[in-house]
């Protein structure tokens, strides 16, 4: 069913980025950043849970949120390839989060008006959280970009590493078109415009630039991932797969 796939794509983005951020808990450079990364991870995993629960309900074959998160393999995960990229250094993590936040705010804003009232409700809740995330990551992009020569160079390197995975966020297929036609899905063209506006404004103020190389890696929405997702899922799903149905 189209709606199930559509919900899983958004849920998987949140689950994977939440897992990536969780890897950093206790490892951030400052206590405040450590608390922030835990909070942001929690928001994403919370959003994923609600989307999985609703996807499971729509699917109607008895898969709950745990089954959807923990018992699907790499080829069945439908997140965009950006969110599975490794944390790298702090600038890499912030670049990934910044691009993702710049996408999520307009996405959730659009979905708050979805004809599907459950999805609209989840999005209306999530957009408020996403705006705090975007403020946080944008402030760090500006601070590192406008900081020392070293911080600027590393921020630019982080942007260069993450940018080739951003176009995957905006790939629309028949599912998007079908659901957009009935007012359920977001119009990704509009989301992309808002994304570009925010990225350009932030980079201009921080003296940062986008890479000139046009290469973009696509395929996440169809389950074709980079080498990193399999490793992430192996760790995340290990307990559930060893003890199916375990509750903790």
């Amino acid at each position: 069913m189209s709606i199930v796939t559509y919900l899983l794509r958004i849920a998987d983005d949140n689950m994977v980025v939440g897992q990536r951020l969780s890897e950093l808990i206790s490892r951030m450079p400052e206590l405040e950043l450590d608390i922030a990364v835990a909070n942001i991870a929690l928001d994403h995993i919370g959003q994923a849970r609600h989307l999985y629960a609703y996807a499971g309900e729509q699917e109607g074959v008895g898969r709950d949120e745990d089954a959807l998160a923990m018992a699907r393999n790499e080829r069945q995960y439908l997140n965009a390839v950006l969110v599975e990229q490794p944390n790298g250094d702090f600038a890499h993590t912030m670049a990934r989060q910044f691009f993702f936040d710049a996408y999520q705010v307009p996405l959730y804003e659009a979905l708050s008006g979805s004809a599907d009232s459950t999805l609209a409700g989840i999005a209306a809740k999530a957009v408020k959280e996403a705006r705090y995330h975007r403020d946080h990551s944008s402030a760090w992009i500006a601070r590192l970009g406008g900081g020392t020569e070293e911080s600027h160079q590393r921020m630019q390197a982080g942007i260069g590493a993450m940018w080739p995975f951003t176009a995957d966020l905006f790939v629309a297929d028949g599912i998007d078109e079908e659901l957009a036609a009935i007012g359920v899905a977001a119009d990704l063209v509009g989301v992309r415009q808002a994304f570009e506006g925010h990225v350009n404004d932030t980079f201009a103020s921080a003296g940062l630039s986008l890479p000139e190389d046009p290469y973009q890696r696509l395929g996440g929405r169809d389950g074709f991932h980079t080498e990193h997702l399999g490793h992430l899922l192996a760790e995340m799903q290990r307990l559930y797969l060893a003890h199916p149905g375990a509750q903790w």
């Binding site: 608390i35 909070n39 928001d43 408020k128 705090y132 946080h136």
Partner: protein
């Protein structure tokens, strides 16, 4: 069930405290949305403050237990629409937060206007520095008062 007992049930449900901020109740927070009785069936509707709020499961368990202790077959529904806003918090809750040392959320309102100035919950000074937007729980930011130098939590506007 008599009206008197029903009132008592509603009151007990409303008094359930937020496990992370025990000075405010779920009724004063605006987390408890509805209590409906049909025969021996009780339906309690709650809404999360944040998508990932870990207190929600505890709150759901608590209200279910209270409903069942009154002899009802109790269902707890979690709804997202309309999305919870800090504007739903009652004046009682705001005062309780400030006394507890947490600067309460300011009113956002329907139209975008500038928020009222924040003040230190201890000395009421408006001379503050934000340390981080993400504090000890999802709903709080961390500030420091530049007058009395005490750090404090601020329940964020959302």
């Amino acid at each position: 069930m008599s009206d008197l007992n029903l009132d008592r049930l509603r009151q007990q449900l409303g008094e359930v405290a937020d496990p992370e901020i025990p000075v405010v109740s779920i009724a004063d927070l605006g987390v408890l949305r509805a209590v409906e009785v049909h025969g021996d069936q009780l339906t309690i509707t709650i809404t999360p403050t944040y998508s990932g709020c870990p207190a929600m499961e505890h709150i759901a368990d608590r209200v279910k237990m209270i409903g069942e202790s009154h002899g009802f077959a109790t269902t707890v529904n979690t709804v997202f629409e309309p999305a919870w806003t800090s504007d739903w918090m009652t004046e009682t809750a705001r005062q309780a937060l400030e006394q507890y040392g947490i600067a309460p959320p300011r009113t956002i309102g329907e139209v975008a206007v500038e928020l009222a100035p924040l003040r230190c919950p201890r000395c009421h000074s408006p001379n503050l520095a934000k340390i981080t937007d993400f504090g000890s729980t999802a709903c709080k930011a961390l500030y420091r008062c530049e007058s009395c130098l005490e750090p404090f939590d601020h329940f964020k506007e959302i």
